[in-house]
Subunit: 229 residues, 2 copies
DNA sequence: GCCTGAATTATTTTATACAATTTCAAGCCT
DNA sequence: AGGCTTGAAATTGTATAAAATAATTCAGGC
């Protein structure tokens, strides 16, 4: 596709399998096995693992190998906290600059989302969610923040996947909020869209913490209100 | 030191040289030359470059080699914008939990800073600045955000280094603001410290944009005020 | 004279082979 | 019996060498 190098395509495939859950959290990733599985040598596998470690999906201990990054409530809370801090700013910058083709693509994603919801295809939900969010922030002209948010969205998908198999009502709520956000952006109600986005992320955070059996404020104190910036 | 592997130590050394300016922005990093320079093979060099690319210090084009990430005003503005979004939150969480040994270390850094200021040792300034900031945020219990801010501080040092050689007055201002921030944290005035931190970062941003000859709002519109979070 | 295009060169990328490190278990000593 | 050392097995880290890809050069034609 866009990866002209073998390390890149191996990395994309491993990432997909981690997000799918095919490589469960905490499992060992042996270079030899992966190399055999992909019909390649260990060196491109190593480089792919290094790249994934930078994204936070893999942890490498020197001389002890690589493992899929474990899932911890504290980690999920921090990722969602970062999202709540960054995404509203991106949306505020990007929303006024969104074009008609952008909204067209957004509606296409929403339709796919509805179809996946009917089919119970939870695997597609994560990628569509990430696509929609990144699309809405795409005109902000903040490449670094955008890449960072992309990593955070991918990580959050690992947690929400666990939750959604037992709690499908959250999917419909997310769908409603997504549609409303797109509508607000299209009608120029930027600050309302940002406020809804904050609520959207915070709700995901509280629902996820409840699902994980952790009181929301145990691992992570909320962002203090006197930081207005 | 703490790098038990050759790739790690090579990566640290290349990072140091990029931050020093010994490898100037935009210069090509040939694997063969680096390998010969470090007396190693090209493979640990490759892995080091991959890690540095994740930090944003190096850009790799497939089959075309690696180069030191170029310096652009827009990039600096985005890095400072992210710092302004993230650091106050970390400080608000960490400041109430700072211990007496932490403040002792902070004062040590401030003394070293003053010494470096007397000696005109601009190379040490960057690392001391990073150390101080990360120390103040260390009790926030946000490992991911802390690592991210560390990368952002390193990148900002590349720009401020250029500026400070011609504008040493900024160094003294930074010193005053650092001392005041530590004092406010020690006396429990957390919100005042956070407000000062925001001003500190924003001032660095405007001064840097002025130095780079770019009007502050040309490349980057400021964060909109209606995002309160 | 300038553009097109194949051969050449330089560099990156990958494969194979070897060395260093960790882990686990068995045996020894206290 | 318990803890420590020691050795073997497995796995990772590194070096060397071959394959692949992009940039360059130089010849040939329009």
């Amino acid at each position: 596709m866009k990866n002209q190098t073998m390390a890149g395509s191996i990395g994309s495939e491993i990432r997909r399998r981690i997000l799918d859950g095919r490589y469960p959290a905490g499992s060992q990733l042996r270079q030899d096995g992966l190399a055999a599985e992909f019909g390649a040598s260990r060196i491109p596998v190593r480089e792919a693992l290094f790249q994934l470690e930078a994204e936070g999906l893999v942890r490498i201990h020197p001389h002890r190998g690589a493992m899929v990054a474990p899932l911890s409530p504290a980690d999920a809370a921090e990722a969602l906290e970062l999202r709540a801090a960054l995404e509203p700013r991106l949306l505020a910058l990007s929303a006024p600059l969104l074009t008609e083709p952008d909204f067209h693509r957004a509606h296409g994603i929403l339709e796919d989302y509805a179809a996946a919801l009917r089919d119970g295809d939870t695997a597609r939900w994560g990628t569509l969610n990430t696509e929609l969010h990144l699309l809405l922030y795409g005109r902000a002209n903040r490449p670094r923040a955008l890449g960072l948010v992309g990593s955070l969205l991918a990580e959050c998908d690992r947690y929400t996947r666990l939750q959604l198999s037992t709690d499908p009502a959250e999917l419909e709520r997310a769908d409603r909020e997504h549609r409303e956000m797109v509508r607000l952006c299209r009608n120029g109600h930027v600050s309302a869209a940002c406020a809804l986005l904050v609520d959207h992320i915070n709700h995901v955070a509280t629902a996820l913490m409840a699902f994980l059996g952790e009181p929301a404020d145990a691992t992570q104190t909320p962002a203090p209100s006197h930081v207005i910036v």
